[in-house]
């Protein structure tokens, strides 16, 4: 305890000396949090059709890598799904890319999602209100995200456009469902059949609900015995979709690279800052060594310094991260900061600070007590 008390006193007294180290830790933590948070936010939009629906089980053509890459699967497979008592209310979902024809004649890629609308539909995103679903039952009626209006070249509910060669009409707007690729276009199954190619006995996904979501895993395990299809739980398919995007785009690698760079810069600045602080008190440490204080305890003093530099850096980093994340949200950029991310970044930056302390120990090698007598 005494060591920590002296350390905090030293940290406060020499705050100008330690400031670069503290800021370097904070900078590293904020940068990694924001970079990863942005990446998670960005790629979370790729799995919106899964995460915002009520389906617990997703059945697809074999080997589908991402929800937007589904291929036709026979609706006859619904009977397979129905053979499991735990898989309730099986239904179909159509999902595929198409071209949106803007009023000015240019084209935009979009993702058409056609689902059942009555009762408690599994495939319809929860943002579609009962009233919207009622309006969507009209042929050619669609709903899009408000943030996509500009990209789609339209301005408000009631506007018309074309998808492929079919006319569509905006009957409602949702929020928070902006897509990374083409804008999501939500509609009924019937409208989707008009907008997307494919035969009437086929769907892109077959969905089911489980009364207890934890049973979904067992059902999916059984369904995997069939080679002509794939089955996933909601969580599996969502993760699979995000990982596919993460690896396909190399964004994960570039983020990891940036994080490593941030850690390296942080480590160099922190260790230099600690090194200078230890070197400045070299003669004092040498006196302690002469007095017989074991080297281990002096090392503990230096490591306690690096520990507290890390703690103060992280304490500064957390509100900064949340503040900047709020600014990003206000500006319409989705950022996810799950607890595991914040916890991991804290651990990594603390490890960086303590390792920097270890690097600063090299200045202690110079603390030869006999040198005080020359």
């Amino acid at each position: 305890m005494a060591i920590h008390s002296y350390t905090l006193t030293t940290l406060w007294h020499d705050r100008q000396r330690f400031l670069p180290g503290v800021l370097a830790v904070a900078f590293s933590a904020v940068l990694i949090n924001l970079q990863t948070g942005l990446l998670l936010g960005l790629f979370s939009t790729t799995s919106i059709p899964i995460d915002h629906s009520e389906a617990d089980i997703w059945m697809s053509a074999p080997g589908v890598l991402s929800v937007d890459l589904g291929r036709p699967i026979s609706q006859a497979n619904l009977s397979r799904m129905a053979s499991y008592a735990a898989a309730e209310s099986p239904e179909t979902l159509l999902l595929d890319y198409s071209y949106w024809l803007k009023p000015d004649g240019s084209k935009e890629l979009c993702i058409v999602i056609g689902s059942q609308l009555l009762g408690r539909p599994l495939g319809a995103v929860r943002e579609l209100t009962l009233e919207m679903r009622g309006r969507l039952s009209e042929p050619g009626a669609i709903v899009v995200d408000e943030a996509e209006l500009g990209r789609l070249g339209i301005t408000a509910v009631g506007d018309r456009a074309k998808i492929g060669d079919q006319r569509v009409r905006i009957v409602g707007l949702v929020h928070g469902l902006k897509s990374l690729t083409g804008p999501y276009v939500f509609c009924s199954l019937e409208t989707a059949r008009l907008l997307l190619p494919g035969s009437f006995d086929q769907a892109t996904y077959l969905l089911a609900r489980c009364r207890k979501p934890e049973i979904a895993f067992n059902v999916v395990e059984s369904l995997r015995g069939h080679s002509d299809m794939s089955a996933f739980t909601k969580e599996e398919f969502s993760r699979r979709t995000r990982i596919h995007w993460l690896t396909q785009t190399n964004a994960g690698i570039s983020t990891a690279f940036t994080a490593a760079l941030a850690l390296l810069v942080g480590a160099v600045v922190t260790s230099q800052s600690l090194y200078a602080a230890v070197a400045a008190s070299m003669r004092e440490y040498a006196v302690l060594r002469a007095l017989g204080i074991p080297r281990g305890r002096i090392i503990a003093m230096v490591l306690a310094l690096s520990f507290w530099v890390g703690i103060v850096g992280i304490v500064l980093a957390l509100p900064t991260t949340f503040g900047l994340s709020h600014v990003a949200e206000v500006m319409g950029t989705r950022m996810l900061l799950p607890h595991w991310l914040l916890g991991s970044v804290m651990l990594v930056t603390m490890a960086m600070a303590v390792l920097s302390g270890l690097a600063a120990l090299r200045s202690l090698r110079l603390t030869e007590p006999a040198s005080l007598l020359r």
Partner: protein, 262 residues
């Protein structure tokens, strides 16, 4: 005169620095002995080997030749860890310059020696620091940092740090060199008290001849050799109390010195 058993003894000590043409012999066959409760004063010109002798006797610098026996143990036959432990238990040091941690208060500088070194509780370390601050006449300045203390006060804190654990040996390198005589006297009196009241062996390296009256033995080094060892005649003062002896010294401007065989 019956000699008491030495508590610190260096025999045939030799130490060189550098190699080849640049080799310098800092100590050439030096022997020295000090008894409990004695203040030894090591004098000599710059480069005479005083500080090297202090470093060798205190277990900080290994001699090329000779041995150092302290409390009956050969310091340089010990392992590094054992020697470190010996210093922790028995040795106090003050070096040139104050070497105080800039961030810590005078009280914390003192406490640190016990809390870091011997695992003493914070409460006990604090009580001991208060005692030492009282001895240093710095009770009301325990909360001040080095940059708020005068040079004399800083040196007193440095001496206090050396005395915190009531050491058997106290080694002081030029403890008064940066001080005026009033402050210098205060500092050297603290060391003298440690020897005469607490029975410590105090060895002071200094250029300052004004310290001679405070010493029980004076050693002169020149070019790495011990040229003279003198003992202040204490035959007529050995039974006197400390205050009486001090009084006697103030009456005599020059102390009486007796030359001893080298």
């Amino acid at each position: 005169m019956k000699r008491s058993k030495p508590i610190l003894q260096g025999v045939h000590l030799a130490r060189a620095f550098g190699e080849g043409d640049k080799k310098t012999l800092a100590l050439r066959d030096v022997s020295i002995r000090l008894e409990p409760g004695q203040v030894g004063l090591l004098m000599g010109p710059s480069g005479s080997g005083k500080s090297t002798l202090l470093a060798v006797l205190s277990g900080l610098l290994k001699p090329d030749n000779g041995s150092v026996v302290a409390l009956g143990e050969d310091l340089w036959a010990m392992s590094e860890r054992e020697r470190e432990r010996f210093r922790l238990l028995h040795c106090g040091f003050t070096f040139q310059g104050y070497n105080l941690f800039p961030a810590l208060t005078a009280r914390q500088q003192l406490e640190l020696v016990l809390t870091l070194g011997e695992g003493v509780t914070a409460g006990r370390a604090r009580r001991r620091a208060e005692e030492i601050l009282a001895v240093l006449d710095l009770t009301d300045k325990g909360h001040l940092r080095p940059n708020q203390l005068s040079g004399g006060e800083k040196q007193r804190v440095a001496v206090g740090r050396a005395l915190m654990k009531s050491p058997t040996f106290c080694f002081a390198d030029e403890p008064t060199s940066a001080l005026d005589w009033t402050n210098g006297q205060q500092v050297v009196k603290l060391l003298e008290t440690a020897a005469h009241q607490d029975g410590a062996v105090v060895l002071i390296v200094s250029h300052d001849a004004r310290l001679i009256p405070f010493a029980d033995r004076v050693f002169h080094l020149e070019d790495g050799r011990m040229t003279t060892q003198k003992q202040i005649r204490k035959s007529d003062s050995s039974d006197l109390s400390l205050s009486a002896r001090k009084l006697q010294r103030t009456r005599n401007d020059e102390p009486e010195l007796a030359e001893l065989p080298i």
